[in-house]
C-alpha cells in the first residue's frame, strides 16, 4: 500500500552547543552565533517516515517546514536522507507565531495537500521545548494523535500499530489513519545522508532561492523537476490573518532573563542531620528552594 507521508520539520538554533555568545545583552537569542540545524527529534520522525516508505513501495515523503525562506535547508537535508520533496511555508505574516498560530498554519498547509495518510513530527523542538505543535496540529485536523512514538510497528487495514514510550515503560497502541504521530528522541537515529542523493539534490531550491542561482544552474533546475521545492504563503494555504503570526499568538513573552551563576565560594558540610537541616533552612530563607 502506498502512503502519502508528511513530516513536519523545523530548523532550530543548535541550543546543544551553546557558547558564551549565545545570548545577546538584552537576553534574546543571538541566532548568528548558533548554527541552524535540523531539529533532532524531527530527524527521528523522518527515519520513521523513511522506514514506512521502504516498507510500502510507491509511498512519498514530503517535508513541510515553516520558517524563513532559508528553512529550505532542512528540506534538502531530508532529501539527502531519502525524502522526496518539500514545502516551505513562509510569509512575513507568519512571523512571531507561538505554538497555537504555528499549528494552525501547518494544519492549513496540510489541508491544502492531496490525501495525507500520516503526519509525523518530532516530539518537541529544542528551541522551545513545548511539545505542543504536534498535538495541536492533530486537533486542528481532527485526526487522532499518538505521541512519544518510538516505532511504527505496522500499517494494515487503515490502522497504524505504534509503540510509544511512557513514563514507566512502553505501550503499544493502534490508531486509525489518517493520524498524527509525534516521535520521541529514543526512537532509532535517522539514517545518514546518502552520497548519491547528496549529489542529486544539492541544487534542489525553493523559488526564492532559485532567483539567486546562476543562469546555468537555473537551466538545470528547470530541466529537472525533482529540484523544484515549493514555497507556500499564508494566503495560499487560506489562513485566516487573525489566527497566524503575532495576531494569532496569545502567548506573550513578559521578560527573558539571562541567568548567570555568580556564586564562587564553596560550603563544606559535615555529614550530620543538624548541618543539613541548617542548610535547608538557609536555602528556604533566601528563596533558592520552596
Amino acid at each position: 500500500m502506498s502512503l502519502n507521508i508528511v513530516v513536519l520539520a523545523k530548523q532550530v538554533p543548535d541550543t546543544r552547543n551553546v557558547g558564551k555568545d549565545a545570548m545577546k545583552e538584552d537576553g534574546t537569542i543571538n541566532r548568528a552565533a548558533l548554527p541552524a540545524i535540523f531539529n533532532p527529534e524531527d530527524l527521528n520522525a523522518l527515519e520513521q517516515a523513511l522506514r514506512l516508505k521502504d516498507a510500502n513501495p510507491g509511498s512519498t515523503v514530503t517535508i513541510l517546514t515553516m520558517g524563513l525562506p532559508r528553512a529550505a535547508e532542512v528540506i534538502r537535508e531530508a532529501m539527502f536522507r531519502g525524502a522526496d520533496t518539500g514545502i516551505v511555508l513562509t510569509d512575513r505574516a507568519l512571523g512571531g507565531a507561538d505554538t497555537l498560530a504555528t499549528s494552525y498554519s501547518l494544519a492549513q498547509a496540510i489541508k491544502k495537500m492531496d490525501k495525507v495518510d500520516i503526519v509525523l513530527c518530532g516530539r518537541q523542538a529544542i528551541d522551545g521545548d513545548t511539545a505542543q505543535v504536534g498535538p495541536q496540529v492533530a486537533e486542528k485536523l481532527g485526526m487522532p494523535q499518538v505521541t512519544y512514538a518510538e516505532e511504527i510497528l505496522s500499517i494494515a487495514d487503515g490502522k497504524a500499530t505504534i509503540r510509544r514510550r511512557i513514563e514507566s515503560g512502553v505501550e503499544t497502541v493502534k490508531a486509525p489513519m489518517p493520524l498524527v504521530v509525534t516521535v520521541n528522541g529514543s526512537a532509532p537515529d535517522c539514517r545518514p545522508r546518502n552520497a548519491k542523493r547528496v549529489m542529486q539534490f544539492k541544487y534542489a531550491v525553493s523559488p526564492s532561492e532559485k532567483e539567486k542561482l546562476s543562469d546555468e544552474l537555473k537551466a538545470l533546475v528547470d530541466k529537472r523537476p525533482g529540484l523544484n521545492l515549493q514555497e507556500w504563503s499564508a494566503a495560499f494555504v487560506e489562513a485566516d490573518p487573525e489566527q497566524i503570526g503575532m495576531p494569532g499568538s496569545p502567548t506573550k513573552v513578559k521578560a527573558i532573563e539571562n541567568v548567570v551563576f555568580t556564586a564562587k565560594e564553596n560550603l563544606v558540610l559535615e555529614n550530620n542531620d543538624e548541618q543539613i537541616e541548617n542548610l535547608v533552612k538557609t536555602l528556604i530563607a533566601n528563596h533558592t528552594i520552596g
Binding site: R191, P192, R193, N194, A195, K196, R197, V198, M199, Q200, K202, E216, L220, R224, G226
Partner: protein
C-alpha cells in the same frame, strides 16, 4: 557531533592540489556523464564540491557510529559457525551505515551504480575510516577489488558483479595459502575447467581477510603440472554458488573486528576473470598495488588517531604541577609524531594522484587509442605510481607503528592498561607493515627505482618547485641530503655485488623516503600556506638529516666483506 573530515583541515588542503584539475577532467571525460546521470558533476568545481560533501558524510559516519563501535568490535570480534562468519554487532551496524550512506563502489563508473570518484578522494575516505576503526577499514576497503574486476573482467562480468558491490556486497581477495605467503608463485589451489566453460576450485586458502565475502577474487592453479606463477589464473567465486566454507577464523593480535579466515574449497564453482595464466603476473600485481595504496591510507589513519590520542592525553595529564605536554621530552615526541603523520599523508596523496592519472589514461585507452602525448604521460605517471606505492606502503606503515608506540609511551603506565584506546591502536597498527607485502618486500619493489633514478628524478622535480622563504634553511639542508643519497647509491652500486645491494637496499630506500617526504612537506606547506605543515616540515627535515646521516654512516662502515658478520 564529531566529524573526522571537517575536524581535520589538512584533508581539505590535500584535496585542493592543482593536479586535481587534470585528474577530474580525465576521470569525468570532460563531464560527459552530466547528461546521463542526475548525480554526475557539471564541471570541475561541481565535482570538487561533490567530493567535499561526500567526504563530509564519511567523516560524520566515522566520527559517530564507526568510532563509537570500535572498542566493542575489538572486544566482540566476528564468530564462525557452520562454515559461515557472523560479524560483531558493531561491524554489522558500520556496514549498514556505509551501505545506507552509499559509500560502496565509490570509484566505480556510474553505469554500474558507482560514484565514479577518482582514487584520491576514495583514498581520503579510507584514511578517515581507518582513524575511526582500523580493522573496519579492511572490510570497507575491500571494495577496491571491484577495481580489478573492472579492469580485467569482461563487460558481462562487470555488469553482473559491480552493481552488487556498489549496492553494498563485500569482497575478498583469496591469495594466501599455507605454503604461499610472500611467495605467491607457490599457490596450489586447483582450478579444473568444466565442459560448460566454468571452473571448479579445490583446496585451501589461509589468512583471507573477510573470507566469507559475497564475491571473491581467487588466485588458483589452472595449468596442471606447472609450478610457477605462469600457471596461475584469477577466478571470480560468487558465494551464492556455494562450495567454499570457512573452517576457522584466526585469533589475532589486532584488527580483531576483521575476520581472517581459513577457507576450504570443495568443487566450488567459479568463473575465469581475464585470460588464463595471467592471474599472478598481471592481475594480482594490479590488485596488490591497489591494496598497497589502501594500506598506506590505513596507516595514515592509524598515525592520525595515535597522534590525536597522545596529544589529548598529554594536555590532560598533569605531573609535577603541570600538563605533561609542557615538558620538552614530551614535546619532542609529539612534534615528531605529527611530522611523521604529516609526511606520511603528503606521500600518500602524492602517490594517489599519480595512480589516478595513469589509471584514468588506462581507462580512456579502453574506449579509444591514446595520442602519443597521452601515452607518454601515462607511462610517466605509471612509473611514478610504481615508484611511490611501495615507498608509501613501506614507510607510512612503519611510521604508524612508531606513532602507536609513542602514543602508549605518552600515556605512561595508563597506556599499558586496557583502559585507553592507545593499546588497541598499538595492536591494530602492527599488521600494516606485514600484510599486502611486508616492508621488506616493499623495499624489494622500491630499490629498482633507487638504481634506475626514478626517485632522483622526483627529487629534481621538487627542487624546482616553490618553497617558502621560511623554509629556505630546510631546503638547503635537504639539498645536502640529496648529495649524500646520490653518493651512497653510487657507492653501493659500484660494488657490483648483488648480495650487498640487497643487504643495503633498506637503507637506500629509507633515505629516498626521507628526502621525498621532506620535499613534499616543504612544497605542500608552501602551496597551501599552512603553518602546521611548515612546522612539521622543519621537524621532519631535522629527523631526515639525522636518519640520512645514520644510513650513510652504516653504508660507509659496513663493506661487502663485513656482511659475513650478519651471516650473509
Amino acid at each position: 557531533m564529531a566529524n573526522f573530515y571537517t575536524d581535520n583541515p589538512d584533508l581539505k588542503l590535500h584535496l585542493q592540489h592543482p593536479l586535481m584539475r587534470k585528474i577530474v577532467a580525465l576521470k569525468e571525460r570532460d563531464f560527459a556523464d552530466a547528461e546521463k546521470f542526475d548525480y554526475a558533476p557539471l564541471n570541475f568545481d561541481d565535482a570538487m564540491d561533490n567530493y567535499d560533501r561526500v567526504l563530509e558524510i564519511v567523516g560524520e559516519l566515522c566520527g559517530t557510529t564507526i568510532a563509537d563501535n570500535a572498542e566493542g568490535v575489538d572486544h566482540d570480534g566476528p564468530t564462525v559457525a557452520n562454515g559461515r562468519v557472523t560479524y560483531a554487532p558493531g561491524t554489522q551496524e558500520n556496514l549498514e551505515g556505509c551501505r545506507k550512506a552509499g559509500l560502496m563502489g565509490m570509484s566505480m563508473p556510474r553505469r554500474f551504480g558507482g560514484l565514479n570518484f577518482p582514487i584520491t578522494p576514495y583514498i581520503m575516505a579510507a584514511d578517515i575510516v581507518s582513524r575511526a576503526d582500523t580493522g573496519f577499514e579492511n572490510l570497507w576497503g575491500l571494495q577496491d577489488c571491484a577495481e580489478t574486476l573492472y579492469e580485467f573482467g569482461s563487460e558481462e562480468q562487470r555488469e553482473r558483479y559491480i552493481p552488487r558491490v556498489c549496492a553494498g556486497e563485500t569482497m575478498s581477495m583469496d591469495l594466501t595459502e599455507p605454503d604461499a605467503g610472500s611467495d605467491l608463485q607457490s599457490v596450489m589451489l586447483k582450478a579444473t575447467e568444466q565442459p560448460d566453460g566454468t571452473w571448479l576450485l579445490n583446496g585451501v586458502k589461509r589468512f583471507i581477510t573477510n573470507g566469507d565475502a559475497d564475491i571473491h577474487l581467487v588466485l588458483a592453479r589452472s595449468e596442471d603440472g606447472t609450478k610457477d606463477g605462469r600457471g596461475l589464473s584469477m577466478f571470480i567465486y560468487d558465494k551464492r554458488q556455494g562450495g567454499v566454507n570457512v573452517r576457522r577464523i584466526e585469533n589475532k593480535l589486532g584488527i580483531k573486528g576483521s575476520p581472517t579466515c581459513e577457507l576450504v574449497y570443495k568443487n566450488a564453482k567459479a568463473e575465469l576473470c581475464g585470460s588464463r595464466r595471467m592471474g599472478l603476473i598481471k592481475y594480482v600485481m594490479a590488485l596488490m598495488n591497489g591494496a598497497r595504496l589502501g594500506i598506506a591510507a590505513q596507516s595514515v589513519g592509524v598515525s592520525e588517531i595515535a597522534y590525536r590520542e597522545a596529544e589529548a592525553y598529554a594536555k590532560d595529564r598533569k605531573q609535577f604541577g603541570k600538563a605533561i605536554i609542557e615538558f620538552p621530552a614530551v614535546k619532542e615526541i609529539l612534534s615528531v609524531m605529527k611530522a611523521k603523520l604529516d609526511a606520511s599523508r603528503c606521500l600518500l596523496y602524492e602517490t594517489s594522484r599519480y595512480v589516478d592519472l595513469y589509471k584514468a589514461y588506462e581507462d580512456i585507452a579502453r574506449e579509444r587509442s591514446l595520442t602519443p602525448d597521452e601515452r607518454k604521460e601515462m607511462k610517466l605517471y605509471n612509473k611514478l605510481a610504481d615508484a611511490c606505492t611501495p615507498l608509501a606502503k613501506g614507510l607510512t606503515s612503519e611510521y604508524c607503528n612508531q606513532n602507536a608506540y609513542d602514543c602508549i609511551q605518552i600515556h605512561g603506565g595508563s597506556g599499558f592498561m586496557k583502559d585507553y584506546a592507545c593499546e588497541r591502536i598499538y595492536r591494530d597498527a602492527r599488521i600494516t607493515s606485514i600484510y599486502e607485502g611486508t616492508t621488506q618486500l616493499q623495499v624489494v619493489a622500491a630499490i629498482r627505482h633507487v638504481f634506475t633514478g626514478t626517485y632522483s628524478q622526483l627529487m629534481a622535480n621538487y627542487a624546482e618547485m616553490e618553497i617558502s622563504e621560511e623554509l629556505q634553511a630546510q631546503k638547503a639542508i635537504v639539498e645536502g641530503l640529496v648529495a649524500k643519497y646520490e653518493e651512497a647509491v653510487k657507492a653501493v652500486h659500484e660494488t657490483n655485488d648483488s648480495c650487498y645491494t640487497d643487504f643495503m637496499a633498506r637503507h637506500l630506500v629509507e633515505m629516498a623516503g626521507d628526502i621525498v617526504m621532506s620535499y613534499l612537506l616543504m612544497t605542500d606547506a608552501t602551496r597551501y600556506n599552512s603553518e602546521s605543515l611548515t612546522r612539521s616540515a622543519k621537524v621532519y627535515v631535522n629527523l631526515a638529516a639525522a636518519d640520512v646521516a645514520k644510513h650513510t654512516a652504516f653504508i660507509a662502515t659496513v663493506k661487502p666483506a663485513d656482511m659475513a658478520q650478519y651471516g650473509a
